[in-house]
Symmetry: C2
Subunit: 330 residues, 2 copies
């Protein structure tokens, strides 16, 4: 099957270079023509294009931080608009952009239309897990959702898991704050009832930690929650890698060329050990109360007691009382 | 300043052992009596208690998965209830529990009361960052929030950052899906306006990745979002450490006792490289459209093209259309 893909050649932080280079990187995997929507001159500066890769001129570019609504109105001739248009015209079967996500979505919805029965298109992304990656949907297209939107996300995510990831009968979970039914917010409680009524393989509520377990194929949530999780994951992974780099350098300096990996691991574990932090305070009640993790080690309990001491000594409760009444009387 | 702490000796997965052992671990840092609420016999089996550590008998225990409302009604004599009561009676200045969080909260609110002006008590937790830990509030006490609840969370988190973490003029950020004002959902848009009006050092919207940046002291969100982030972070960190352990074992087997740490790092990076996954599909529009990260490398672009091929070839759009209409007509 020959497939033609339209690429927004001007979208992204390193365009058009990374886009053109991406097409070259594809190599043998290419399945047909590739259409690069963008400014011919800029694209040509990236070197000669492989045979079958063609520029489709687009006069303007949507900036990364341009409001999507403004781009939609003012830049029908932008690279992203032209790329989406190529699918609409039947000249390509798929469109790809690394540019302004909101603008890309807006042009896709406008140009390609919403599928019948789908109230809100959604963005699905793959998340790393202990086993195979899972799908998180929605990760930012819809910040305020109704329960029936989440039902649509579940169906779309299931089809994607089946067709693109090749998972038979994908397990669909609803992201929630507890495994038990009825433990969520208004949105998830209502969505849960809806999901039960579908022919999906709905496994019920899943918690944040299940996302990386590999035991769910499709995790459904509203786009606000999905987006903060996606970005938090990126930030946390980066942080852990930074620690790791630092620790490796340190261990190398200390140990010369000895076998350092277990030492590295030990230091890394310590630096991100949740028990170090002690318990979490319940704020807003008339006393000092510290909540600990059910799995608390003796070290975590001792740290919670230290936190309690500081809490009392520093008069946290009294200060909250004072400051909250100051704000409310302003 | 002498401080007496009441501990729910029966709460948590490894109680009372881990609780008693935690008190021993505290050692020299102890600042006064410690009252262990719980079943005397079980506590005594953990060995002799240090001087000044005393058992206060409690007949029952709230199970980890017992609904808080039921516990509140049926178990006024539970270890967590007795522990909270000790603060109420003035016999202790702080209470700590590693048991059922919802039940602990319920007993604290009932026994200690809500602070005047605070509509909803909230749980604050420390999150690891590149620099000093930051506070995330709320992480699960309130799943459905009004904008003014978030204002209270911000004030409480700020006081905690100041008093317990010793941060002067803590930077308070509102967790959102974009840095720009007006980019959130209804709740955050309204909360943002409220927060602007407080005397807090409000730095505006922050994104998921800012939580681990170390550039914010207090990150404010509703308890649903905070809880999934907290648990996702635990799961993700665990997953990365598991990878690391595996890779260390593998590298050791391959290289004997050579210096393996850089090799470990390289393998780990590859195994969690977001670029491996290619782009994220926008589902629900009338065509195949793949969204890429603005920072996409050529490898990520090439992978997005591979994803587009599979998307088209497998007829994802057509299948979604078909399945969504089947569900809506049921």
């Amino acid at each position: 099957m020959e497939i033609t893909v339209a690429l927004d050649a001007m979208g992204g932080d390193h365009s058009p270079e990374s886009i053109v280079e991406g097409v070259r990187t594809l190599g043998e995997d290419r399945r047909g023509p590739i259409l690069l929507a963008g400014q011919g001159e800029a694209i040509e500066r990236c070197g000669p294009l492989p045979a079958g890769v063609e520029v489709v001129p687009a006069a303007t570019v949507v900036d990364m931080h341009e409001p999507p609504s403004a781009a939609l109105r003012r830049k029908p001739d932008s690279s992203v608009a032209v790329a989406a248009g190529l699918v609409r015209q039947g000249r390509a079967q798929a469109v790809i952009s690394a540019g302004n996500t909101g603008a890309f979505m807006a042009f896709c919805v406008k140009t390609l239309g919403r599928l019948k029965g789908i109230q809100r298109p959604a963005i699905a992304t793959l998340m790393p897990t202990h086993k195979e990656p899972c799908i998180l949907i929605d990760v930012g297209a819809n910040v305020d959702c109704r329960p029936d939107f989440l039902q649509d996300f579940a169906i779309m995510g299931k089809v994607y898991a089946e067709k693109v990831l090749g998972r038979p009968s994908p397990r669909v979970g609803l992201l929630n704050i507890g495994g038990e039914a009825g433990k969520g917010n208004e949105l998830t409680n209502a969505a849960s009832v809806l999901l039960e009524s579908t022919p999906l393989h709905f496994i019920g509520n899943v918690e944040g930690r299940d996302i990386s377990s590999g035991d769910v194929d499709v995790v459904v949530c509203d786009g606000f929650v999905g987006n903060v999780i996606l970005k938090y994951g990126e930030g946390l992974a980066e942080m852990i890698f930074d620690f790791l780099k630092e620790i490796i350098a340190q261990v190398k300096a200390e140990q010369g060329s000895g076998n350092a990996s277990s030492e590295v691991f030990k230091k890394l574990m310590n630096s991100t050990d949740y028990a170090e932090y002690g318990g979490a305070p319940l704020l807003g009640v008339g006393g000092a109360s510290i909540v600990c993790h059910g799995k608390s080690s003796p070290k975590a309990i001792a740290n919670a007691i230290r936190v309690a001491y500081r809490f009392v000594e520093q008069g946290v409760t009294e200060t909250i009382s004072r400051e909250v009444s100051a704000v409310h009387h302003e």
